[in-house]
């Protein structure tokens, strides 16, 4: 019973082929098989949004998807957002706007914000709040998160903060925990 299934998934631009048990959740696959621990598990009950990733460009909660369902699809995690060691505009905005305190919800917040801005590049504040209703933050009161997303929508240029992104964090193979 429950034999393994072979899947091929493109994660953050790299193609992976693995045998997985059907009950393996996508978030477990990302974290435990690929070592992409940037995607975190918060509530594990589809409420908090901390595990949000993009599946073929649209946000999904990776705790509420089996890895086998991602077979043949593209997944982008928070670890795929920075390009060439430079933070993505949303990441830079969260940093500059102080849009986090403990930081646990931040990967999911940024992934959902990116999905929101893709669908609605110029949201109102209300649309940002509604767009983030599936992401819970227990520290900030959301004010600076909304401000950060709005600033990116408004085209605010922050420049490069100089924060570097570790190579090991953007390369799933070297970080892999097999």
């Amino acid at each position: 019973m429950a034999s393994s299934t072979s899947i091929t998934v493109e994660v953050d631009g790299v193609s992976y082929t693995d045998d997985v048990e059907p009950r393996l959740l996508l978030v477990q696959y990302l974290r435990e098989r690929l070592g992409k621990t940037g995607t975190v598990i918060g509530c594990d009950t589809t409420n908090c949004g901390a595990c949000t990733v993009h599946l073929d460009g649209a946000s999904v909660k990776s705790c509420t998807m089996f890895a086998v369902q991602a077979d043949g699809h593209q997944v982008t995690t928070i670890e795929g957002m920075a390009q060439d060691g430079k933070l993505a505009p949303l990441q830079e905005a969260f940093h500059q706007c102080h849009a986090l305190q403990c930081g646990f919800c931040t990967p999911g917040m940024i992934m959902q914000s990116a999905s929101l801005l893709k669908e609605n590049p110029h949201p109102t504040e209300t649309e940002i709040r509604e767009g983030l209703e599936g992401n819970l933050c227990r520290c900030t009161g959301y004010q600076n998160i909304v401000a950060a997303v709005k600033s990116v929508a408004d085209g605010v240029e922050y420049g490069d903060s100089g924060l570097s992104v570790s190579e090991s964090l953007t390369d799933g193979e070297t970080a892999g925990v097999k």
């Binding site: 019973m1 009950t45 909660k61 509420t64 998807m65 089996f66 086998v68 999905s115 599936g134 992401n135």
Partner: protein, 287 residues
């Protein structure tokens, strides 16, 4: 949380899926169909559902998408809520469904969760059944003995129970196009992404300065979605003013059997439904 072990099959045709269901039934396996998984996977993680076989419908082409049939639209069962909420055909011809779909859970869940999956799941607090009842949707099922269609009035049979028999699959939903109707889905919740405590799917056709015809579907007022038939009757010929509409909507709780839970007891819901119905009918009538 990790679900129990299960066997997994990902058929690529409806016929193959029906064969898997028939085989599982004769083998005595507990089989579950996986659509978007936004209800099934959480209950599997809680081990409230413990299927031995999961048949994933996500690899079957043709179960997703919206087609224009002339007088009606056909919505594939695997069409995600996000698509129902944003599709121009739905917005133009059955905006009630688009508006209700946009209130389901949160954006991430709407990207994965499906229209057909939510209807077959038939959660009394789910947002799609009452609008489907109000628009008089027709449910198209494939089964071992061929295809059949079930009217919305006959589809929802009880708590998480529909007319879909073992061995059958909901493949699509046909919805008549509406011209000259206004609609509104009024949903009452206390916090973001919550289930409806009570919600009302209202449709009205205004003619000659009065409401000529109305449909009122209720969410979470019984084990199934209901039509508020007394309110619908009272709204026929009703003047377009708040007092008259409130009087008609005072009947909205008639024939309902709401549950009591942490969000409110049954009496609270019986009162709330009259308030939400009035607001929804007013909005549907453009008032």
């Amino acid at each position: 949380m990790i679900p129990s072990q299960f066997d997994y099959a990902a058929p690529t045709t409806v016929e193959e899926a029906l064969g898997l269901l028939a085989g599982a039934e004769s083998a005595g396996d507990d089989v579950k169909l996986l659509a978007g998984g936004q209800s099934l996977i959480p209950v599997m993680k809680l081990r409230m559902a413990d299927p031995s076989l999961v048949v994933d419908l996500g690899r079957i082409p043709g179960l997703s998408g919206i087609t224009d049939d002339g007088a009606s639209l056909t919505i594939g069962a695997m069409t995600p809520h996000h698509v129902v909420a944003t599709d121009p055909l739905v917005a133009a011809h059955v905006p009630l469904l688009a508006q209700a779909a946009a209130t389901v859970a949160d954006p991430q869940v709407r990207h994965r969760g499906t229209f057909g999956g939510a209807l077959v799941h038939a959660d009394p607090a789910g947002d799609m059944p009452a609008p489907a009842l109000a628009v008089e949707a027709v449910f198209n099922l494939a089964g071992p003995n061929g295809n059949r269609s079930v009217a919305a009035a006959d589809f929802f049979q009880g708590y998480f129970t529909t007319a879909v028999e073992e061995g059958e699959i909901l493949t699509s939903i046909t919805v008549p196009k509406y011209t000259g109707w206004g609609s509104h889905y009024g949903k009452f919740t206390r916090v973001a992404q919550q289930w409806s405590i009570v919600a009302v799917a209202a449709m009205v056709r205004v003619e000659g300065g009065v409401i000529a015809e109305a449909r009122v579907g209720l969410t979470n007022m019984a084990s199934t979605p209901l039509r508020a038939t007394s309110t619908e009757a009272a709204l026929a010929g009703c003047a377009l003013d708040a007092t008259a509409i409130a009087a008609a909507c005072a009947h909205a709780a008639e024939g309902t059997e709401p549950a009591s839970d942490l969000n409110g007891d049954a009496d609270y819901r019986r009162h709330l439904v009259t308030v939400v119905a009035k607001r929804a009918v007013m909005a549907a009538a453009g008032l």
